[in-house]
Symmetry: C2
Subunit: 586 residues, 2 copies
Amino acid sequence: MSITRMSQLFVRTLREDPADAEVASHRWLVRAGYIRRVAPGIYSWLPLGLRVLHNVERIVREEMDAIGAQEVSFPALLPREPYEATGRWDDYGDNLFRLRDRRDNDMLLGPTHEEMFTLVVKDLYSSYKDLPLAIYQIQNKYRDEARPRAGLLRGREFIMKDSYSFDIDDAGLDESYRRHREAYIRIFDRLGFDYEIVQATAGAMGGSKSEEFLAVSDIGEDTFVRSPGGYAANVEAVQTLRPEPVDASNTPAAHVEDTPETPTIDTLVAVARELFPDREWSAADTLKNVVVKLRHPDGSTEALAIGIPGDRQVDAKRLEAWADPSVVEEFTAEDFAQNPALVQGYIGPQALGEESASGVRYLTDPRIVEGTAWVTGANEAGRHVFDLVCGRDFTSDGSIDVAEVFDGDPAPDGSGPLTLARGMEMGHIFQLGRKYAEALELKVLDPNGKQVVVTMGSYGIGVSRAVAAVAEGTCDDKGLSWPRDLAPFEVHVLATGKGEDVFAKATEIAEELDAAGVTVLLDDRKASPGVKFADSELLGMPVSVVVGRGLADGVVEVRTRSTGDRVDVPVADAVGAIRETLERLG
Amino acid sequence: MSITRMSQLFVRTLREDPADAEVASHRWLVRAGYIRRVAPGIYSWLPLGLRVLHNVERIVREEMDAIGAQEVSFPALLPREPYEATGRWDDYGDNLFRLRDRRDNDMLLGPTHEEMFTLVVKDLYSSYKDLPLAIYQIQNKYRDEARPRAGLLRGREFIMKDSYSFDIDDAGLDESYRRHREAYIRIFDRLGFDYEIVQATAGAMGGSKSEEFLAVSDIGEDTFVRSPGGYAANVEAVQTLRPEPVDASNTPAAHVEDTPETPTIDTLVAVARELFPDREWSAADTLKNVVVKLRHPDGSTEALAIGIPGDRQVDAKRLEAWADPSVVEEFTAEDFAQNPALVQGYIGPQALGEESASGVRYLTDPRIVEGTAWVTGANEAGRHVFDLVCGRDFTSDGSIDVAEVFDGDPAPDGSGPLTLARGMEMGHIFQLGRKYAEALELKVLDPNGKQVVVTMGSYGIGVSRAVAAVAEGTCDDKGLSWPRDLAPFEVHVLATGKGEDVFAKATEIAEELDAAGVTVLLDDRKASPGVKFADSELLGMPVSVVVGRGLADGVVEVRTRSTGDRVDVPVADAVGAIRETLERLG
């Protein structure tokens, strides 16, 4: 190793926030000269940022190797055919970067590599004896996000560790999944995240069991819930407790009432109170029927009506996850005009369902159980029907669990009330099962000589995103503050003064640290102490050493970035004191 | 570290050559399970291959760091605008992968990153005090080659180290260039190539001084020349010695002769001998005028006539390099029809030139100097003109140096006769000068406070290509044979036998080597000794150790892959003997 000098380092710090920075990590990473934007969602790594990235990669690599996963590296530029075979060429929609080569072959930039890994195992392996297998890569991924944001947190070109497991049976997959899950726990512990492991939906990946590792953060794009008893799920995966059926034998027959000027649930509740003042009314007594349009990957569209209690909205993310790979679109005025059985604002269950006048598929919230009575649209302008009983007066084509989740809703496993929080998806582990192996015919011989389809798992970590997430979790109002394991340099030596002796002593301390295996950045610039202090806090090395005025008294100052601690130590003891400070940081 | 066991390793060796393998390195890298083809010119790295690749990267990184170059990392997916500003968006033609994002923005996959590096320096730096600067990256590059071939040797996605230097003046650029050149010499020495540093043309990169590092190899796509006195150049860059002018005062006046049935130079020479039997005639006395069409980057076309001595062909590569970024196309029968002044097969200088009847630009070989007399077309079917003297009877619009180079031609620097050889381009260093800095307005303040344009160098190494080139240079008829520094593992321990003691002892030796810091691959498979020996030679670790039959006599066999040496050593001394063998390999 050798000392890195700031007079030579390719870095410039900025005093102003970049115009497009929405979150702290993005602001500081740009201001501290760690990254630069090249295009929306596409960044370059400057020397300091690249060192952090390499540190994250090292930790990920060590823990993947420790569970026996083997590193490979696949291209980013891929042929269409395998993705066509699994349906993902279409399912990814606009998120996929597609292109044509000079011979007009369709190609893509890989969003993840399930297909390619499946094919290479098919190419190499043929027997149950070859399994289990886990292979991984750390590599560029591409997704043409509609809304790239927050710097590295949601990019269009980004670095992922993706691994894939291959097993002969479900028990093997469970074990591979468990080993990855434990490796992920070690990785995220080492990166120093505050994270939560939550149940997740599989989305376009297909498959069954799936969990996400979320960095808990107010700026996270993902909403998740947790209960005192340990249930945790991202909001898309929360399963609503289905209440017991209700005895409706005392519920009066349904009756239609005039309800003029009730465009909203609130106005409807107000009218209900006027009409039947001796009964209790709330938004939860109303049944709202929302019509949307689903656009399927093949381009066809379908209307869908969703019945939910009126006190809740349809949660757009839950609905998107439910619909995936189909896309949810607005049911427009034109669509309404083409289906006159749907009376906008007054749609009731009786006009819905595949067998009904509208023919629109009708799915209802799990809370709408047999025997429950509802106020809902009467399929006539200005009129609603009261005491419409599920099972007695209407049925649906099935259940759909896409209503918004409230703080305090019960956890589905009975572990107490849910609390909502926000997080950033840092890792995702999937039991893919046999979807990809079936589509691409990955089979091996079992012990009886029979061809069986292999079962797979898929496991991702956002490596470049982790750099931003750590920065986000550790920065303060002065700049970045890196944990020792991730810092570009462990120690920042500042020569603050004009005397030759200051520079000579600072260099000497830096060289001694370097010789002791400590990574060192030396601020040898001709700049004022104020500039050096500010830059040091902005750049965020865990420990800094100020060699300056104190030198006359035989002391240097050792600062700890994360705590703000400052202690004077005798020059002669400086290197020892710095190493002790580093040890205390872990 | 830990031992890698072949029973677990993700590898399968093949007994048959892959159908598309044209060269030995490609054949062996696929058969040994180092790489797999994903699409034409696009490969995946399996575990063994990736370890070699990482070793090459390590060597390149160490030597770049040693000259103070700083590592950064740029995206592969780039916006069009900077490449538009320098003209390369068009100049790269079909070689550039272009695509559009979901908002219809034009993007590209970076072929090299001059533009992006220029812009980031412009973003960060503003003063001569910041310079010199050298920054580099090791990263995926993309070129949509018309003829991807030879596995990793000419790929469409490949890994390059590219670096860029920034200096305030030409002397600085010279120094940056020199430092890179020396780093490259150290890198290629460490990789163990037989290489030649040759003068090169700059091609689409622009710029002035440029040299290539060619791995000398019969399968190379590049032809180069070298002289006994040390001149070396790739064939595109060879400059022809211009002979002294000739005294033409005794040359008779030009005379047109009937030359029926002379479609070729040979038939023309035969007719000349018949007509004037007392003179010496050879193909070198004839002047051949070749017409081609240039297609410019803006899509326009232009006819070009090239006059060269009839004993030489126009060298397609030299002409391509001369024309670049314009592309050379055939001058078709239709084109001839449109320009009746050009009599196909009988074109003479008098019908050529911008001022002539045809109006076609006419450039001539350097050998066509003033006073030389030629037999050439008379611009009439079946007739040639004799004793047509350059300068007296015709002139051209300029000189063009694109004739083929012959073994034995004189070196332009007087260092003796040239010898032709073939090589693979492994590195290329350029003095770019100010082309990119001017196009993208990269200026800094000089010591006088004046804005000056920065001057740049650009330096590339084909990192993935180097893996193939080393394989190509070291393999034999049994498989791969890696130098110690690049090998996936230094030692291959083979347990050949059925006894438990064989596996136990092999494992023990492997563990001792591992503990001593030696990287070890242990063949613990249940396979025959023959299979293990064959695979060991195919995989190509520098040293292998056979623990098998000899064990009963207290010996193991240590084999050196590159020399074929085999020695029995006592089991107790095995680890020491293996380490000594490794030391001898360097």
